[in-house]
């Protein structure tokens, strides 16, 4: 266990090992690890960005959903109002039509009554005269009496 040349041999071996390590071992490993670090960092950043984008997209989807829901509600309201209005209009139309028809019927009835009246009147005059002729059997101044009876019929 005495100091001898092994000391120097060990120094040389050590130097060679360190040199080899420095030349062929350290650089590729360091490079790969740095690259990996970069990739991990990129990945994390990418994930953050994606997360933010997802958040934004979610918000956008929600916004769109809310808008379409509002739109649908608005359309429904409009339609309902329009339907009500149409029903109201139809009702009004029907009522007006009914009233018009009633009025027509009424005026027709009136005119028919009037016609019947005038026919009756004409017939009454004739009948009255005939009746009177028959009663009197005498000659009567037809002209004179006709005027009288007509006036009478007029008063009917």
């Amino acid at each position: 266990m005495n100091i001898n040349m092994t000391l120097i041999g060990q120094m040389i071996a050590f130097a060679i090992f360190v040199w080899f390590c420095m030349k062929y071992v350290w650089p590729p490993i360091t490079q790969a690890l740095t690259e990996r670090q970069q990739r991990i960092q990129d990945g994390l950043e990418e994930a953050d960005r994606a997360r933010a984008e997802l958040h934004k997209a979610n918000e956008q989807a929600e916004e769109t959903l809310r808008e379409s829901r509002e739109e649908a509600a608005r359309i429904l309201d409009n339609t309902r109002a329009r339907a009500n209005q149409m029903i109201e209009e139809a009702r009004n139309d029907a009522r007006a039509e009914g009233e018009r028809m009633i009025a027509n019927a009424r005026s027709e009835i009136d005119s028919e009554i009037q016609q019947a009246k005038s026919e009756l009147r004409a017939q009454v005059a004739t009948l009255a005269i005939q009746g009177a002729e028959r009663i009197l059997e005498s000659s009567i101044d037809e002209k004179k009496h006709r005027e009288m009876v007509d006036r009478l019929a007029e008063e009917l």
Partner: protein, 274 residues
Amino acid sequence: MAGNAPTSTEYITHHLQNLTFGLHPDNGWSFAHGAEEAREMGFWAINVDTMGWSIATGLLFLWLFRYLAKTVTSGVPTGLQNALEMVFEFSNGIIRTSFSGHSKMVGPLALTLFCWIFFMNSLKWLPIDLVPQIAHKLGIEYMRIVPTSDPNATLGMGFAIFLLVIYYSIRNKGFSGFAKELSFRPFNHWALIPFNLILELVVLIVKPISLGLRLFGNMFAGEVIFIMISLLPFWAIWVLDVPWAIFHILVITLQAFIFAVLSVVYLSACFEEH
């Protein structure tokens, strides 16, 4: 165990003897037979087992991380890639928290130190007699498989760090800046320059030595305890061996971590402006 029924002392000393190859004054170029011959070889000898196992574990580390470097993708990691990336991130964390300067070298250095020392230390988990027995069968007399329990290995790494500290200090601060830093701290007065110089040089030298000795001390002590435990009767060994091995999960990792962190801290000081 080596030889026929060795005594406890023989067993322990045998286990603590490195396989040393060197120029012996009497035997010429040969493997040392025992501590005595190894000492006689002096400095110009080499601990073949320490070198072999440390290079093997170093290659294991490089192979694993070369595999990672080849298969690594910026996509989703799987299986082994995941585990190795964890280690990579761990040593990268050491740099981020302890290193203030800018250097292409310190990251790989921390990774190499942490993993390599961890692998060298973890050889200790192998049964204490397993590899030496196999080696003995192959005719190899001594085999210490934990390189970090050999002060040569740990101090070698420590001095490598020391050279780097000197190099980076001079490169970043200039030679005069470095010399000024050694001369005018902690006491900024010309009369105290020699005192400062001695103090700072001691601090400078102590850093790599403490690095190396801390690791060596921990590993050596652990190994000695393992050897002591294995002197027990075979049916009692596990009672102490298992807790000690579990405890070493902590020691092995912690020592590797401390060595790497302190090296980075020492190097970081070279990049700081005062």
